[in-house]
Amino acid sequence: MIKKITNKTLNIFKYFLISLGAIAVLITLLSFSIKGDTGNPIYYQTELDTKVGGPFESSGSTSRYALAKSIVDNGSLLFSTELAKFASPDVVGVNGKYTTLFTPGVSFAAVPFYYLGNLVGLPQLAAFLSTTFFALLNMLLVYKVSRKFYVSHALSIISGLIFGFATSATAYSNSLTQHHLSVTLLLLAILNAAGKRNFINNLTFGLVAGASALVDIPNLFMTVPVGLYILAQNFSVSRINEKLTLRMKLSVVGLMIGAIPMFAIFGWYNFQTTGSYTKLAQSVGRTDIFATDEIKEINKANIAKSGTSPSVVPFETRVQLNGFYILLISDERGIFYYSPIVIFGLIGLLLAVKNKVKENLAIVIISVAMVNVVLYSMFGDPWGGWSFGPRYLIPTLALLSIGIGYALTRSIKNPIVILLFTITLIYSVLVSALGTTTTNLIPPKVEALNLAVTVPYTYQYNIQLAQAEKAGTLIYNLYLKNMINVQTYIYIYAGIVSSLILALYYSAVIFTKVPANNENKRKLLNFNFWRKN
């Protein structure tokens, strides 16, 4: 008995230490994505400087940061003139009051981080760490969902690591943008869908779906497939003789009850900022009061041009051809150009459907990814402005990463797969490291070619910056600048990440035993074998 308890305790302790170690490794690796520069002691904490390579290089981050800062410093959802200038152009003006263009979820999540950081004089660093925290959480959630497909620990961890370090999501893990928090909420929703249907789970899903709308409106569309699946799970049909009984669980009301608080907060926020419970700041549009004369002229021209279109939503089917090209295969933002490793994930999810392994879960995941891709293919700006990789497809990158573990499981000893995986992984990690180390601001082709000094519109721009010794990461700028050049730093960083993932992968390849006889092969196909891992 004592021996049993001791073994159990030891096992728990062992897993605890392994988990702790793994999280420590992840935090260490993620810390290299933190943007910043040397200052007194660290630049950007009091300086609202929007220069390229810094944390405030993109207005997507600054406008959200401005809201968090305004809430903590001024106790207001509205910007002071100074903050409005800083957040421009993503600022909305209503009756002489200014607020952020974006939905407030990301800023709300950053408020406690900003507050605590402010206490120690590091408000920017702490606020941006909120996204880093969600990036870390996302890796764990990808791991968790991957496990649902009976994939081993090692290969599930690889799925998580790939999302965290081998996709363009890495470059956004220290920015105050909606991407990582959206992914967190989507993955939580998917995990919730995989659970039993009871009042608490339904309530939780309602909360998560409502919160996702607070973070970014298109999240609502992406949660629809999950919501419909959950709704269907609340109904059951049984047949007794000539009678068919349709049962609806009363706990279904939890879905609505859960969503109400978040929508109430949204309504209140809208009222405070636009004067209407239902009017979004985004529907008011940007104010150009702080813009330069040149930008004002461009805006006027754009308004005149779009004035002929009675479009009521920012999505148009006419642009879909361009949208699909840009988001999927172009060298500007193509998902398979920046992160080809996720092709394994797509194959994995399709295989899961084909083999009927958690078929419904795989279909829900593919559905969310498809909504993400199709929706943004119809968005007027599929490039996401000046950005790195397909930033609007970061949810898809996470969802496809889930399937990687399953795809690798299915072909664990296949030498061609091992070779292809190794090559695509190293490439994807390197590209991702380029963005993380230098900048997220890559212009779309049409803008890049029209700049006074043209710059590349692909990650070649990041390579140019690296060659010019321009790095945006805090750790490099603080401690390594005088020891190694930026390119060497990128190679070392990408080398460490790749080695870690490949070491895990090769271990799985080596130590996984594939049964020789037919019966066990059948078991392998049914995944009884893997379930034990």
């Binding site: 009984t245 349709l246 049962r247 009521v312 939503v313 148009e316 051809l321 909504v371 199709v374």
Partner: protein, 541 residues
């Protein structure tokens, strides 16, 4: 919470719904069709295409004008759409509202929707897949717009789809009645647009191939005899329209190929574009394919086109689908092949904004593949069971966005593209100044049919190329016949200018208005007493 349902009731209800699905769909199609027509009628877009107005004028000239009759059907456009207008075009409201032409398109819309449903049913697709197929067709804003106008695309879609449907049934059942029906519909398509001629060739090849295939690809005399017999049987009826058209051109214009090489033919127009250096697709198969695929995607939506393409591949690889149906389904791609070949040969022109300059022209040709895409996508939805609801949701999302973003490339084609000319200035002037005064207006219908339509004046007020002796007299002695002359000055493509400007009478006219697309000349007042203002030639042949 429980709901108990008797299973027999459910079975009965299910059977009833499956049975009633088609009548319900027909009902909904009619409602949607009428609703769309009213929408575009009241917002004034129903007649945005100049071609729509020209089609209506052609139909009207058959029943009204200085020389009414079948000869007014002309030589450029094929006659079926105009013949179908004849029963209603005599009514001024039906003519000027465009309803005389639109009603043909509307009926065609309903028929095509039904054919898509029936086609999918015949190839073993379940009710859900069939409904999605119809939804893809009906949810296309370009289809809804074109079915509300007097254009010929919807009629062509209906007769072509009917032809392919019957051809598929013949492949499936081998019944000769289906082959006769297929030949009939193909014949009607050859009388609607020249796309139908290509379908005739395409269908001919399929008929020959199917018989050969059924005889195990033998090349003995017995097989050749069977092929010959079946083909002649099919082609006699299917090609009738083509020969009627040759005969018509020979009879009316003295040249069987007048429609192809006459002064107003598409070939002649394309030659001018070629000389101007803007017929870039001619002789370039890559560019021709690119242009048509762009038109297809802009009309049918990229996502739905991709679904259709995957559905086609799925159908041709599906072992459950018989070889006959697979071969017959090839006919669904006929519009794609035809349009690319026509562009390559320089018989057609297509301008895509952003690809060939900054304008649209004939982009509506891309709509020809919509029924095919709907059928293939419906098939895919049926076969990809696990992804059925996901795809359905995505289709709904795309259709919704198409409507909310008002993405109708055909309307842009009509409103801002080369198809549109602002003729209202000239037609308004005529409406205000010529309406209550005696005298004829000399005008080239080939160049200015839209002006004739928009003026609101009776057809009998106009002397044009189709008015026989009036035209001959008016172009040699205009001052005796034409109180007003509408023409593009210094442009010999305008038949009126080409003739009238060479007569001494032109000196007796004052240029009263100059507009971008045509100028208005009026006879000097002192010559009015000598002017013929009544139709004196009586009934002409």
């Amino acid at each position: 919470m429980n709901l108990n349902i008797n299973i027999n009731f459910l079975n009965t209800l299910g059977k009833f719904l499956v049975k009633a699905a088609l009548p319900i769909i027909v009902y909904l199609l009619v409602i949607i069709s009428v609703g769309s027509f009213l929408y575009y009628y009241f917002n004034g877009l129903g007649l945005a295409y100049n071609d729509a107005r020209s089609h209506l004028d052609i139909g009207r000239r058959v029943v009204e004008g200085l020389k009414p009759g079948m000869a007014q059907l002309g030589s450029v456009w094929l006659p079926l759409p105009h013949l179908l207008m004849v029963p209603t075009i005599w009514n001024d409201f039906m003519w000027h509202s465009g309803l005389a032409g639109a009603i043909v398109s509307m009926i065609s819309f309903v028929i095509t929707g039904v054919l898509i449903y029936r086609f999918l049913e015949q190839i073993g697709v379940g009710v859900f897949g069939r409904i999605v197929g119809v939804l893809i067709f009906v949810g296309n804003i370009n289809i809804l717009y074109l079915q509300s106008t007097a254009m010929t695309e919807l009629l062509l879609l209906a007769v072509m789809t009917a032809g392919v449907y019957e051809l598929m049934l013949w492949h499936k059942t081998g019944k000769v009645l289906n082959l006769i029906k297929a030949a009939f519909w193909v014949m009607l398509s050859t009388l609607t647009r020249y796309d139908g001629w290509f379908l005739f060739l395409f269908a001919s090849a399929l008929v020959v191939f199917n018989i050969w295939r059924k005889n195990n690809f033998k090349l003995d005399w017995a097989t050749i005899g069977k092929i010959e017999g079946t083909y002649v049987f099919f082609a006699t009826l299917a090609s009738l329209g083509v020969f009627i058209w040759f005969g018509w051109n020979q009879l009316i214009f003295g040249d069987a190929l007048y429609f192809a090489f006459g002064p107003y033919s598409a070939h002649s127009q394309q030659d001018q574009l070629d000389v101007a250096g803007i017929l870039s697709t001619k002789g370039d198969i890559i560019l021709s394919t690119k242009h048509y695929l762009y038109a297809l995607v802009y009309n049918s939506n990229l996502f739905l086109s991709v679904l259709g393409f995957i559905g086609a591949v799925y159908l041709w690889l599906d072992k459950k689908v018989s070889a006959g149906i697979k071969f017959a389904a090839i006919a669904l791609t006929a519009p794609l092949v035809f349009n690319i070949v026509a562009l390559f040969l320089g018989h057609s022109v297509l301008f895509i904004q952003g690809v060939s300059g900054n304008t649209w022209f004939n982009v509506r040709y891309g709509v020809m593949m919509v029924p095919s895409i709907a059928i293939f996508a419906g098939f895919l939805i049926d076969r990809l069971k696990p992804f059925r609801y996901m795809l359905f949701g995505l289709i709904l999302m795309v259709i919704l966005v198409q409507f909310t973003s008002y993405d109708a490339v055909t309307i842009d084609d009509a409103r801002v593209g080369s198809s549109q000319k602002n003729v209202s200035e000239v037609s308004n002037w005529l409406g205000q100044n010529a309406k209550n005064k005696d005298g004829f207006i000399l005008i080239s219908a080939a160049s200015h049919d839209a002006i004739i339509f928009s003026s609101g004046l009776p057809m009998a007020k106009y002397i044009h190329e189709g008015t026989g002796r009036y035209w001959e007299s008016a172009t040699t002695n205009p001052e005796r016949w034409a109180r007003w002359i509408i023409m593009r000055s210094y442009d010999d493509n305008d038949a009126t200018w080409k003739t009238v400007s060479r007569t001494p009478d032109i000196e007796n006219y004052s240029l009263v208005q100059k507009y971008p697309f045509a100028d208005i000349y009026e006879l000097k007042p002192e010559l009015l007493p000598n002017l013929n203002t009544k139709p004196v030639f009586g009934q002409q042949k």
